[in-house]
């Protein structure tokens, strides 16, 4: 079945360092990929959505590029801040099953001073 895989459960970094959170997907049809961020006791918020193949999308300092050749949509930021500490979820919307998001298990990002 369709799935989204996030390989890291926890990433711990020092403020100012770069980060990459991995996301790979397996879908029957051509998907749209999303990154959501969820701060403690808050709702998930849409952070990024994929564009066309090999095109980078950016928002609030985060960026990701959909690579259909490797079925990936990794999230990156060049310099993390303390406020970036949160849960990050990768999700796919399968155009062929156009009714729900398929979620990864999430990556907890902890940024230390």
């Amino acid at each position: 079945g369709d799935s989204v895989t996030q390989t890291e459960g926890l990433v711990t970094l020092t403020k100012g360092l770069p980060v990459m959170l991995n996301c790979t997907y397996q879908t029957t049809y051509s998907p749209f990929l999303f990154w959501y961020v969820q701060h403690l006791n808050e709702a998930p918020k849409l952070l990024l959505k994929s564009s066309t193949d090999n095109k980078r999308t950016e928002h609030q300092g985060f960026y990701a590029t959909l690579h259909k050749s490797s079925s990936s949509f990794h999230l990156q930021k060049s310099s993390v801040q303390l406020s970036d500490s949160a849960l990050y979820f990768c999700a796919s919307f399968n155009v062929g099953d156009n009714s729900k998001l398929i979620w990864g298990l999430g990556t907890s990002l902890v940024v230390n001073p």
Partner: protein, 112 residues
Amino acid sequence: NSKVIQTPRYLVKGQGQKAKMRCIPEKGHPVVFWYQQNKNNEFKFLINFQNQEVLQQIDMTEKRFSAECPSNSPCSLEIQSSEAGDSALYLCASSWDRWEQYFGPGTRLTVL
């Protein structure tokens, strides 16, 4: 920022009791989704609607849950007979096009 409203924020029920939660989607969004997020932060899709019609739902939702999205009233999700395993954060999301989903703050259900 999302304008999806969910009430109540917290709900405590005993096993076997009914648990009902409500969601007001963002104005103009015809599609509403319900998800369950467990203590391990895993998301489970429950049901979704377009306008008042069910698009898709999982088996669990068919058997023990009931949900509706009447016109001009909040959407609702009700668990007929709560079980300990139902303790979770219930998230409502709305969307204009099914793709970009905007979430409410959730209802945290605790079943004692």
